[in-house]
């Protein structure tokens, strides 16, 4: 029988803590088929803007659509690479500079699958998920971010 996976929530309120990441890594210690983990973390930069510097990004999303898209991306990447595990977390709400807003985590028997899958996931998350970041600037203005 095919294992059917259901959409999982990827959203986290506010920043993603290093402790959450550590816990997620530790949870995989019981899986003795894993030989490699690949992790990508997005961190909020204090980019210079007209009149000031970015102090935080406020994230909003079309949540239902984002979860559905994330599910389809997840299925496609599981199909393409021999992965043991895959986790995606993205912040909603305010994330300050220096804090983590995206956490992508893939595990596999061999390193290459984990590394390639993680990279592909990051690209697809940035390009395909209806999520918007509003950069809050130190002079109380704001700029809507655009991924390039």
């Amino acid at each position: 029988m095919e294992k059917t996976r259901k959409p999982k929530n990827i959203f986290v309120e506010g920043a993603i803590s290093p402790e959450k990441i550590a816990k997620s890594i530790a949870n995989h210690a019981t899986n003795h088929e894993i030989g490699g983990h690949s992790i990508f973390l997005g961190q909020v930069r204090a980019d210079a803007k007209e009149g000031g510097k970015v102090t935080a990004i406020a994230y909003t999303a079309y949540e239902e659509m984002a979860l559905q898209q994330a599910f389809e991306i997840r299925e496609a990447v599981f199909e393409k690479y021999p992965l043991t595990c895959m986790h995606i977390y993205h912040s909603l709400g305010e994330v300050k500079v220096g804090e983590i807003c995206l956490f992508v985590f893939t595990s596999s028997k061999h390193r290459k699958a984990a590394i390639s899958a993680c990279e592909e996931l990051v690209e697809r998350i940035k390009n395909e998920l209806p999520i918007w970041g509003k950069e809050l600037v130190s002079n109380d203005t704001s700029v809507w971010k655009e991924n390039t």
Binding site: A61, Y62, L102, I125, K126, L129, P130, W132, G133
Partner: protein, 77 residues
């Protein structure tokens, strides 16, 4: 027959609402011109339109009771 249109990001900020009602159009192209009439300030903004949580193209028909969403360029991550 009216449809709910959800709006996000810069568009939501521009019109000061997170959603609005609009008369149902047959397809996406005519929905767009309808939107431009009501909200001329959106004319210069880039956005995609989702119908029932799927990205659409201009020729796509709009089903009864569809959930429409206006999506500015994504900037997650």
């Amino acid at each position: 027959m009216k449809l709910i249109v959800k709006v996000f990001g810069k568009i939501s900020e521009e019109i000061g609402e997170s959603e609005f009602m609009i008369e149902k159009s047959d397809n996406i192209a005519s929905l767009k011109s309808e939107i431009n009439t009501i909200y001329p300030q959106l004319k210069d903004l880039k956005f995609a339109i989702a119908v029932n949580k799927k990205l659409s193209t201009d020729s796509d028909k709009i089903p009864e009771g569809a959930e429409i969403a206006l999506l500015p360029p994504f900037s997650g991550g």
